[in-house]
Symmetry: C2
């Protein structure tokens, strides 16, 4: 008789391997299948993201049909059909019914799906909750017929099980249809499939998306752009943020015969000069065998790679949303609410986190009909995919909460947390690898590099906001002053003149002396024939002015503009034009007109106006010529500004003659 | 020459399997290794949780040493040594260097670790960031020597690789030591290893934990309890919340020959009567082969299991923290801040989510030195493990934010979001399976059943808070009134009497008429010899009263109490005692004393006092006999209360004689 097992033996007997499918079957909340309504959204999301990804890869403008129909009390049938290239028969089972299997995990370029989990997770959820197989139809162009497969996942092995198979004729040249029956609940509004499709359509205007809701409602998001976005290119791993273990894998698996070639050709950003410097610093030979660089030497190599200045990652592995679509995205959620202010969208240059290139974009709108007493609304996107859940766990939300928005004109209790005010923020993070907090891909994890870029981008947007708010309040103050002066002064003058039985004097000198400001007033008028921008520059100062007016227009729109009068100079590549205005006496006005083709996507504040020839304190509606601003000005304007400033200084030093004359001829305020 | 590959073929060529280790190496943020300081905490957490789990399973009081030492500029060595039973040589590589391998995933009882990922994830992180192996020492009692292994994870295969191996003598009878060199940063304060050990010690007082910090500081959390908590028992899956797929797995893998036996013996909560009803409803025979119950029949069976009333899950698979430790946990974070109020800890009965039993506990303290202008502090625990990260993503936080705390006396903007006020909330969820939002196990995912229980538990605690706040304000109001009356009335009477040259009258009838309240004053005095509770009941009403006094004490403490005078009745199991007080005339007072052994863990408000024989509006410092309260009262008291109420009603109808007499003899307020 053998002795009874010891405690260590008893415990050992319980040790077992856990299949990844078993693990996720039990932890389906990690994949985004917490509850019936979220499960529906996750299913739609995984299928739709795949359809848009495959379209981009195969260079086919995506046309995706999402059909949701009722299948029983708490069951829905979700069918997503795309016009992609189709999937080869032998790959179908693995693609749809095996977790951790896919084409994008090992590639290094921006894509929506990267994990090889998503759609198989939805199949797992369908198998689990309704015991129904995934029904897949797929046809490649070369084949006559489409393959039809019913698939289960064998969770204990994480392997596909084909329940049935057939060939059918399909009325599409190529494409894939995935059909799942799941335990789910349909809802409208926030976090709904509609919301997800809308968000996807906004930042993917090259896709045509159709949603059929359970009640038969059919919503079509038409294609707004006929061109596919540039295909994000595969890139090499960038040494910044690379860990020792990752460098070890690369050194071990490279096919380059020498370390020098490995550095130059297997890594991104390492120039020939940098290769030399890295090798020197790490005291390694260019001809060493990469696989032999281990232990201590490997650490020295990584240290050198982190110290030597490298070229920043190329942007062509990334696919930003871009200023135009950021504005469209914001306008879309605004509906009928007309904000006062669209901040120029911010796009940061690519940086690296953990070896992966990424970039951050931010859009901001403010004011108008937006609610002033609620936290700002946040629209989060990652790799052109809207993030609808887990806002509280996301690095984007954290970066917003950690900024002191009180400095930029929004309310914020204690200077942290979500700011309160009439604003919407759109934030997009694009990367060859987004660090999500979980497999459900709904929140971005904290990363110091990403956080830094988020903060810089948010600050840039916030500075625009601050400028707008302070301009707004200056303008409000000035127009109040204006109104009072123009209402009261003439009456006062009339009454006094009447009492003294004298003619009513010319009030211009008085008004200009009190106002003492040059006002630049911009208005945009869109007609079916054109989009016109009118500018009026009025000299409400008591002396004559020679002013230089300067405008900055987004370069795309600039190319379409015609100017009246013609500018004295332009810099079309930067979207800049400038004029020397005719000398304006007190109360005199100059006008300019810009005309754009009809339907040009332009807001009044897309145009930035600058004025030279006058001190900052005396300009309203335009900015003074920038000091610390990052705007390169043509020499003529800078000279004009300098001479104007000198003239101004001289004028302030000794008062002008006609200035005193104006004062002595009529000074009603003395009589008051 | 073969034709060029089609697009579908090109895409197919890229499809590859992804190893789970590769996946997590690239997505280490999902495992809690986002950045160097969080990586340290996660490493400590995984090793410590294992050590405490193994102690409980092997019935050994855990003694765990956590040593953190500096190993280079951004590197730390973490060594965790336990006194557990040790691990057999053949299991060591898999336990420490293979993801998704473990003993607790397939078991169905409460444990800290359940995923088979944790400690291997820390090893993966060490391999990745410092290219160093995990150094494991383990000895089982039967062996002379300890096994020492250096382990790497082969990420492409998710398999352990033994780099070196040895046998050494070790000065411990049994135990395990895991030593990792990781890229990490040590920090003190919030989210630090110290914080984690402290949190763990509080709710696991049977463990002795020692922390050695990088600067050599040694902190010992001594064992506060000499008994292991009851071992949570394995339980069977409960049909509530079970999905079709899960039922299918169970039916397929059962060894029971008939469906009847399967229902009775493989599922929890199905009584023989329920078996019969389930079979009837689903129109299935008791003798059917379980494996043959498929498709439609399986759906009917699940439907019946969800409809037929079943026995709630047994609590013995769960290990709650309990009221005593909840209070200790709260007291611990309070430090020197003395709150006014400890709400009686709330513990909900076990419920089921997705087939897994769970329960919710809540503790709350309020007032005193806690900051009144900040959001309430939240202490989250899951299966006796403190949760330090991802508060914003946690179902606990959501449940707190979704409750309208304004109704319970805390500030809250718009009635949602974190409430503001001087309060600390401790919330514990215990389950055989906690649905975490990610593998890092730092936040609990949304689940309707868990959310419901969280809300009910929070509401119960909040009701205690509301009662306290309203009592506090009533008491404040009454004592102000008292102070004014007792200061002014005698002076007024004295002055008036002096003016009229008459003797100062007895003010009792006047004072009692103005106060018109019975005051119950409780005080706790702890001496080295005993903890005494004194109660004074004073009749500040103008008529004689026969009152019943009733006290509720936590049953554990009740057993220790001696009473003076002896109560007229007790219900020891519920911790209740009651007295009929001698008839009290106006201004008369009765005293009671309760004595507990020295060091009894008792706060003044652990005792709940109720008074019968008088209307609610006329009692201060105690509650009236409950109407909607969930307190079952002995019949005698209910009868006394009813007759008192009737008497009161009669008295109110016709004013008492001496009441009027008192008024006519001296009524200073009329003179004012």
């Amino acid at each position: 008789m053998s002795p009874p097992p010891t405690i260590a033996q008893q415990l050992a007997a319980k040790q077992r391997e856990i299949s990844v499918a078993e693990f996720f079957e039990r932890n389906r909340q990690i994949l985004g299948f917490d509850n019936p309504s979220r499960a529906l959204l996750t299913t739609v999301k995984e299928a739709l993201d795949n359809a848009v990804d495959i379209g981009e890869e195969a260079r086919i403008l995506p046309d995706v049909l999402v059909e949701i129909t009722k299948e029983g009390e708490d069951r829905l049938r979700v069918a997503v059909t795309d016009n992609g290239p189709g999937i080869l028969r032998k790959e179908i089972p693995n693609v749809f019914a095996r977790l951790l299997y896919g084409s994008r995990f090992h590639s290094n370029r921006q894509a929506r799906g990267q994990q090889g989990i998503g759609i198989s997770a939805a199949v797992l959820y369908a198998n689990l909750t309704t015991a129904r197989p995934a029904h897949i139809v797929s046809k490649v162009e070369e084949d006559e017929a489409a393959h039809v497969l019913d698939l289960f996942i064998d969770t204990q092995k994480n392997q596909p099980r084909v329940a049935s198979e057939d060939l059918v004729l399909w009325d599409r040249p190529h494409g894939t249809r995935v059909e799942l029956v799941i335990k789910a609940r349909y809802q409208r509004g926030r976090q709904s499939p509609y919301e997800y499709l809308r968000g996807t359509a906004i930042v993917n205007p090259h896709a045509r998306l159709v949603l059929v809701e359970p009640d038969g409602t059919r919503v079509t998001f038409e294609r707004a752009a006929q061109e596919l976005p540039a295909l994000a290119q595969e890139t090499l791993p960038h040494p910044y943020g690379l860990e020792l273990g990752e460098l070890g894998h690369l050194l071990k698996s490279t096919k380059r015969p020498t370390l020098g070639e490995f550095l130059a050709k297997d890594l991104a950003g390492v120039s020939p000069r940098a290769v030399k410097e890295v090798l020197e610093r790490s005291a390694l030979g260019a001809r060493s065998d990469p696989g032999a660089v281990q232990g201590e030497a490997q650490e020295r190599l990584l240290g050198a790679l982190h110290q030597v200045p490298l070229v920043a990652p190329s942007a062509d592995c990334l696919s930003p949303i871009g200023p135009l679509l950021i504005k469209r995205g914001l306008r879309n959620v605004l509906g009928d609410l007309r904000p006062d202010f669209f901040a120029p969208p911010v796009s940061r240059p690519p940086k690296v986190h953990a070896g992966f290139p990424f970039l951050v974009e931010v859009g901001l709108v403010y004011g108008g009909g937006l609610p002033a007493d609620q936290p700002v609304q946040i629209l989060r996107f990652a790799n052109r995919v809207p993030l609808l859940f887990q806002q509280g766990a996301c690095a984007i939300t954290n970066a917003i909460s950690n900024l002191d928005w009180r400095r930029y004109g929004l309310d914020q209790k204690g200077g942290s947390g979500l700011p309160v005010g009439p604003a919407v923020l759109l934030v997009h993070v694009a990367s060859t690898k987004i660090p999500f907090t979980s497999e459900a891909k709904e929140a971005i994890a904290e990363d110091p590099e990403i956080d830094k870029e988020l903060t810089l981008a948010l600050q840039a947007a916030a500075r625009h906001l601050r400028t707008h708010i302070s301009r707004q309040s200056r303008r409000a103050f000035a127009s109040e002053k204006f109104a009072i002066i123009q209402r009261i002064l003439p009456k006062l003058a009339e009454k006094t003149s009447h009492l003294l039985d004298k003619p009513v004097p010319d009030l211009t000198p008085v008004i200009t002396r009190i106002m003492d400001v040059v006002n630049v007033d911009t208005s945009v008028a869109a007609t079916p024939a054109s989009v016109g921008v009118g500018v009026e520059v009025t000299n409400y100062t008591p002396r004559a002015r020679v002013l230089e007016l300067f405008v900055e227009i987004p370069p795309n729109e600039f190319a379409l503009a015609t100017f009246d009068p013609a500018p004295d100079g332009t810099e079309a590549g930067l979207g800049r034009a400038w004029w020397t205005l005719p000398k304006l006496g007190p109360n005199a006005r100059a006008k300019l007109a810009l005309t754009f083709p009809p339907k040009t996507d332009l807001e009044a504040n897309d145009l930035d106006w600058y004025v030279a020839g006058i001190d900052e304190a005396h300009v309203l509606g335009a900015d003074p010529l920038p000091g610390d601003w990052d705007v390169r000005l043509p020499r003529t304007i800078i000279e004009a500004a300098e001479s104007a400033a000198a003239e101004e200084a001289a004028a302030t030093a000794e008062p002008e003659v006609d200035y005193d004359a104006a004062e002595s001829s009529a000074s009603p305020s003395d009589d008051e």
